[in-house]
Amino acid sequence: MSYLPHTPEQVASMLRTIGAPSLEALFAGIPGGDRLHRPLELPGPMGEIALSGLADAVAVRNRSARDLACFLGAGAYDHFIPAVVDALAGRAEFVTAYTPYQAEASQGSLQAFFEFQTLICQLTGMDVTNASLYEGSSAVAEAIMMSLSGSDRDGPVLMSPYLHPHHGEVARTCLANLGTKIETIPSASDRIDLACLGSRVSESTPCVVVQHPNILGNLEEVHEISRLCKEKGALFIVCYNPVSLGVLGRPGDYGADIAVAEGQGLGSPLAYGGPYLGLLSCRSALMRKIPGRLVGQTVDRRGKKCWVLALQTREQHIRREKATSNICTNQGLYALRAAVHLAALGPAGLRETALACMSKARETVEHLRAAGAGEPLVEHPWFHEFVLRLPPSSPTADRVVEMMVEKGFLAGFPLGRWYAGRERDLLVAVTEKRTSAEIASFAESLGRLARGV
């Protein structure tokens, strides 16, 4: 099988035009010693029928969030994606286009990205949004880089202990050779200790990075954190959950300087972790430090409103080693998916999604309590995810997750993998997709396992 259109006669005729005796002769420019003189060791070719069979054989060794009712979140959530998202973002004119460098041939994508930028500004209350980054963790790392660029603040970046651990690890990887340290703000209460933050943030702090709702599902006192940052002139970087903004206050309204997010909940399938969508927005004052592509409005030579890539002098193809970031290819198609998703939800649909997540999560908490599955740690205000502390009679959370697969559930994330000493804590997320029957059955199964019966 191949996707080559050439007939043997055409190949022969083309070679005659070129003046080459054979296809092999086309590679005469490669020194013989640099050539590979054997076939690659790869499995043999296959037609579409055999390939479909291969894919099926792989798929049966997988189980999905459709096979197993999903109460697992921890940074990726099983939200419903309306069919219009797949239908529209799946159009070949969007899927098979290149980066819109030629504006005249790309107005469809450019306008859609401008609308995406606007929708995310409306969602967050921020002034400027770029045309996407890879995913949530690199968005956090890029936000930190923005805070360091041109800053004379030489203290450590202050980071919440309840930021998604992947975000923190990626930031550490990216800063490894750049001379800036990251300090985690100590806390023992499953949310930021404001007194401790207040004592650490100083005139040398470039930024404070906080996730709200945090990785344990708890809400942070963002107004107070914002005030503490402003007092010392440190930039406040918040990592938000886009779906939560159906009910929670917006980053722009509580004073965030840079708002970043994993945008997966806006129309990206779970897809075993990617492609996802990195969201980054900021205040106007930081506009020229923003990484990656920006689409701007302008007029054409006839005065007609249109869209182009803007402020490209920040970018690597112009600025090279002085660019604000090295990003080139971003997540264009997934920004489009998010735009269609937000358009389909609208303000009321987004609010209903958030409310349904919250009420179903609370329904789950009630059922878990009634089933004797342990103690949900919900003393702080929280959104749609919570820690379930399994009773002493229970196997560890790691084991419980494995055993719950057999009962038909993705039960949650065993927190001991991220926080030493929390081997009995299970992080449980509930989305609008879960039914009352699934919730009841989940609690009952988990209760039985936890009680050891």
Partner: protein
Amino acid sequence: MDKNQSAGLLFEIGQPGRRCHAIAEASGVDAAAMIPGRFLAESPPPLPELSELDIVRHFTNLSTLNMAIDCNFYPLGSCTMKYNPKRHERLVGSHRFAEQHPLQPDSTCQGTLGVLHEMERMLAEIAGLDACSLQPSAGAQGELTSLLVAAAWFRHRGVARSKVLIPDSAHGTNPASAALAGFQAVGVKSTAEGLVDMEDFAAKLDDDVAVFMITNPNTLGLFEPNIRRIADMVHARGGLVYLDGANMNAILGIARPGDFGADMMHFNVHKTFTGPHGAGGPGSGPIAVRAMLEPFLPMPRILAGSDGTFGLDENRPLSIGRVRSFHGNIGVILRGYFYIRTLGAEGLANVSRHAVLNARYLRSLLAGLIEIPGPDNGLHEFVASARNLRREKRVSAMDIAKRLLDHGFHSPTIYFPLVVPEALMMEPTETESPETLEAFAKALGTILAEDPEILRQAPHSLPISRPDEVKATKEPVLRWKAD
């Protein structure tokens, strides 16, 4: 019909109270009963309010304003805009791939993990290197990841090195990645053909050079004849050679970077292995390295057990750490996997043979029409120059590019590489037929015979013509606002 006007902006077509997606179960749920008021918004975000048909018509009309591989020949140099097989879309759409949570127990992902492990081995074989990481989200992140791996390798051995040498014909991501990895980017001159200027290279190579980054074949489609000597010289000084794999479509199964001296490289799955480009992504930029660098690769690593099972390993003390959340752009990697499995070894070599055949054929067809500097033994792409046309007729590369759009052809890459004035860089890829290439050549011939004024005003038949890019940057309007 002017579809651009009929579409309007999403924000200009709604009505307060109009709905599309709704969740009836949420009615009557009171947020204030669950969360203290200080956390709540007074009202939901001011998003547009639209019907499903509003949305469908809007985005469908927008889509028709794009050129795309499925509609047009797209000879963008360095971008490898080949056909994206439909079968991949169907296969990755299965819920057993599309609806897997990244933190599911490994026991429930054995199919995917096995495929990813096999993909790593296949890419290592194509690269002629030993180990592979599928983590990086795109080519630029592959570069950065590799340079971080190199930095960690030097640090582990107690060697301090501060410089990365980069030919000035390289993509801008190379120096940008070097700076982010904490290195000083040092430019090396190129010859007129974009090859490494050996004299300048030798002068700049010293014991402080950590990595030499090279794109081979280069951005003019030429294989670097001195690559082995260059690699030997870098190695003799204790440095590493990095290959930017943007142009791998030219040498699949023909030559392997590991065999000609590279110690590490990235692939662009969205170019070489035909992940659709999506108007700017997602990409996927796996890296391959020599065995000595393997302990430093990012986490997690995929482990194959002796019992035929697979798992994710995060216990890697020498690893540079995590470069992104979860495990990579899996959807793109799966498409690349299905592509390689479809073609096999001979099929991949045929990709490169026909990619080069098409480029050389197109070059022959254009040779009488426009200046094509540089030798004619290039591979998958070539660069034409409009410098004579600019001087004689005041017609620029930009004018030609814009006029080609009127003929239904996407323009070549223009003004890159910088070593060729008025550059038009063309990469036809292997999936185009000779008839298409002939039609393109004919169109170019017609264009070059036209009144230059027509070219300067082009395009004439597209929704817009010659946007004011200076205005877009001087008076940036980056979002819609209500009047």
